[in-house]
């Protein structure tokens, strides 16, 4: 008798769990017909999503109200799908956290600093943005060009009619891009003279050599490889690379966005420059200048080269640095969910959406 009750209550708990899951983990991608046939599969998917949410809950502090909201959205989505291609309903704006270089780049290109709509949902990383917008048919956000659009169920949108690609960024027709910048420490402010020379050599490798540019390009950075010289020519000015440098360590800091392209360049440079060591200690664009020329330059996290996925600000003067410039570009791509029929945005569209002037998809469809 008692066991029976226990089982009953456990069943009840299970039912409650499943109902919570269906309430907030709605799968918007599937069509109605699929729903019937794939009910079993979907249930699994939903539980997965739910668990994902459960784990994220701590950081996102999702309230129950939001869950309810989402169910409402789901209803709307079904209506729009029936509508046949035209996009209606509320726009869900997604934006990156305030420390993000992508956000700064996006806001400065579109030109709406401090006017961001209060309804914007803040997400913590590029991947977070990709996942969230990919799950929300009403959503709009922005990611970097290196993002895997298909895997995240995203549709990259054109900006002012120009398709985002490596070519359009290099030829300057795609305007929604941000520079990846670097700055070195001041001359004479290195652990050793040799390290200073090695850093100089690396900067030349990164910005001028074919090998360096190809490495950056292969890791998603956008550079014009045609406009470069071979390292064999350039290295004549940098005799430091012809000695054993295994005792030297180049430490980098700053933006996490640059990590891939930076690491690719450093790795390609390592066997060309006497096997130096590298410490890629990226934490965020704000730390790039601070740890090379700013207040933290003698602290525990001092670095030799600092990076920012934006231009250095006026309060981050780089005139003391041996060298400070852009080494590649990264295109920011406006993304919407895959089934969203809107494929192009103008600067004005984006301004309206992100400042809240256009709250519904109808407002920009004209």
């Amino acid at each position: 008798m008692k066991n029976l009750k226990k089982i009953l209550v456990l069943m009840l708990a299970l039912v409650m769990m499943i109902s919570v899951v269906t309430a907030c983990g709605g799968d918007k991608k599937d069509e109605k017909e699929e729903k019937e046939t794939k009910e079993e599969v979907k249930k699994e998917e939903k539980t997965e999503k739910e668990t994902e949410k459960e784990t994220k809950k701590e950081t996102e502090k999702e309230t129950k109200k939001e869950t309810e909201k989402e169910t409402e959205k789901e209803v709307e989505v079904k209506e729009t799908a029936a509508d046949g291609g035209k996009m209606t309903g509320q726009i869900n704006v997604y934006t990156r956290d305030a420390a993000s270089g992508t956000r700064e780049g996006f806001e400065s290109v579109v030109g709406f600093k401090d006017q961001l709509t209060d309804n914007a949902n803040e997400v913590s990383s590029n991947g977070d943005m990709a996942t969230k917008v990919g799950d929300d048919v009403q959503g709009i956000g922005y990611v970097s060009l290196t993002t895997d659009f298909a895997a995240n169920n995203l549709q990259p949108a054109n900006y002012e009619g120009v398709e985002p690609s490596v070519e359009t960024v290099i030829d300057g027709s795609y305007l929604l891009s941000r520079p990846f910048c670097y700055t070195t420490r001041a001359a004479g402010d290195y652990e050793s003279d040799e390290l200073e020379q090695l850093v100089k050599a690396f900067i030349v490798f990164l910005t001028e050599s074919t090998e360096g540019k190809e490495a950056v390009l292969s890791a998603g950075g956008i550079v014009d490889v045609e406009d470069s010289k071979s390292w064999d020519e350039l290295k004549a000015d940098h005799p430091i690379v012809d000695q054993d440098n295994s005792g030297l360590t180049i430490t980098t800091g700053g933006s996490t966005s640059v990590e891939k392209s930076l690491k690719a360049a450093l790795e390609a440079f390592q066997p060309l420059a006497g096997n130096f060591d590298m410490v890629v200690n990226q934490t965020g664009s704000g730390d790039g200048w601070k740890r090379t020329l700013g207040g933290d330059k003698d602290g525990p996290n001092a670095s030799d080269i600092g990076f920012a996925s934006r231009k250095f600000k006026d309060e981050e003067p780089t005139k003391d640095a041996i060298s400070a410039d852009k080494y590649c570009d990264d295109a920011i791509v406006v993304v919407v969910e895959k089934n969203n029929p809107v494929k192009n945005f103008t600067k004005q569209n984006l301004f309206d959406i992100f400042t809240g002037a256009a709250a519904n998809w109808e407002d920009i469809a004209k």
């Binding site: 539980t47 997965e48 790795e267 006497g274 410490v279 525990p300």
Partner: protein
């Protein structure tokens, strides 16, 4: 008992079942989620490999290329491999755990000229014989094309980004190979696992004695007055401070301490010191709880036998409070493994392969942070690392539990032996 009472009790009872059922289900769901996402990524190589691959470059400027004829592909070649007849080498494309494309050398003909390279990188190994090897991951190959120009192909070049393309370029457009750039397999967790264990060890060595003795003072020795109560409540308050604050404090204040030890930058030691401060409230609180559970009769009996206060503490109270202290250790271990915010400031985010107490490193939690913070967060790898963390926590928990069990059992055995000895003496 009236009917309403019974119903009320049943409802209350049912509610407890419901709650435990929900928590159990949520836990199971998390396990299923992590294992489903991460299990396929997890393998032995991931655990034992270095994170940073070795970057190798070898040149062929001393080779007479005309000597070598064409090669034929062996029958054992995997189906997705592409074989270069001109150089006798085969490549396979793959995607690694970090979701980057790779080009692995899967076959090299024993006669292939590519194996007779020499290291071109300046340093002690320069000129050493080193050539293309099976198991290397090719990044780039430079060659002289039919027009006599130097060109390059491979993953970090503009052409030859797939094995098929690379092989066709090599076979159809090249006269001879100038040099190649390849990597050993990387992306492993070895360094982070060692750092995590090192960090746990260092932190416990620093935090446990301080925490335990502070608790002993507060509970056994301190006068029961307002000051003691105030100290106690401040310690409890300390446990509510976010760990980022501790990280900032460690970076500015504790860094001066590690500087005295001769460390110039972020280090595992700095991380351990910071974590020790974070853990103090937990350890003090837990130890005090354990001390409270030691019956007062033990103290009285010991003191009345003529033992001093410190003899009582060392010989009676601490041994009896040991299970509680060990559970404090367990809690601390979980906290150390889970901490990331404070460690980003104090230990950095650069993943190192040869961690030491005085160098940078990342614990597994910070490794997850690094994996997830880039432009392309990698859920699969993060889940795989989570599984590793779960396994480490499990092993540590079981071993601490085992130690506790042994200690209490030894004591029981002793008691039994004493009884037996007594009994035999009596008879």
């Amino acid at each position: 008992m009236n009917r309403i009472r019974i119903i009320k009790d049943r409802i209350a009872e049912g509610f407890t079942w419901l709650s435990s059922g929900i928590s159990a289900l949520v836990l199971i769901a998390i396990f299923v989620f992590i294992f489903k996402r991460g299990w396929s990524t997890l393998n032995w190589d991931l655990l034992k490999n270095n994170y940073n691959s070795e970057n190798l470059m070898a040149g062929y400027d001393h080779i007479d290329w005309d000597e070598h004829g064409a090669f034929t592909a062996p029958d054992t070649l995997p189906e997705d491999a592409f074989f270069s007849e001109k150089y006798g080498v085969a490549f396979v494309d793959s995607i690694n755990a970090a979701k980057e494309s790779q080009m692995e050398v899967v076959f090299l003909d024993p006669e292939s000229p590519l194996q007779d390279g020499k290291i071109t990188t300046a340093g002690p190994r320069q000129g050493e014989k080193f050539g293309m090897e099976e198991g290397l991951f090719l990044k780039k190959i430079s060659y002289i094309n039919l027009e006599g120009e130097k060109k390059s192909a491979g993953l970090t070049a503009t052409q030859g980004k797939t094995s098929e393309e690379l092989v066709s370029v090599l076979d159809n457009d090249s006269q001879e190979v100038v040099d190649f750039y390849a990597q050993t397999e990387g992306g492993g967790l070895k360094g982070s696992i060692i750092t995590t264990l090192l960090l746990i060890g260092l932190t416990l060595i620093i935090a446990l004695p301080i925490g335990v003795f502070a608790a002993i003072y507060l509970h056994e020795l301190a006068p029961k007055n307002k000051l003691t109560a105030w100290i106690r409540s401040s310690i409890e308050l300390l446990s509510g401070v976010p760990s980022v604050i501790f990280g900032l404090m460690g970076m500015t204040m504790l860094f001066q301490v590690t500087r005295l030890m001769g460390i110039t930058g972020q280090s595992t030691m700095l991380g351990a010191l910071t974590l020790a401060v974070i853990l103090l409230p937990v350890i003090i609180r837990q130890t005090e709880e354990a001390l409270i559970n030691v019956p007062d009769g033990y103290r009285m009996a010991s003191l009345s036998m003529g033992a001093t206060q410190f003899q009582t503490i060392y010989k009676i109270i601490i041994p009896n409070a040991m299970p509680g202290i060990l559970s404090a250790t367990l809690l601390s271990i979980s906290r150390i493994i889970g901490e990331s915010a404070a460690l980003i400031f104090t230990m950095g985010t650069a993943i190192m392969d040869n961690p030491a107490w005085n160098s940078r490193g990342t614990s597994l939690a910070v490794h997850i942070w690094t994996v997830m913070s880039g432009e392309q967060p990698n859920f699969e790898l993060a889940s795989a690392i989570s599984i590793v963390i779960l396994i480490i926590v499990l092993i540590l928990n079981v071993s601490v539990k085992y130690i506790t069990y042994r200690m209490t059992r030894d004591k029981d055995d002793q008691k039994k032996n004493n009884k037996k000895a007594k009994a035999t003496a009596e008879t």
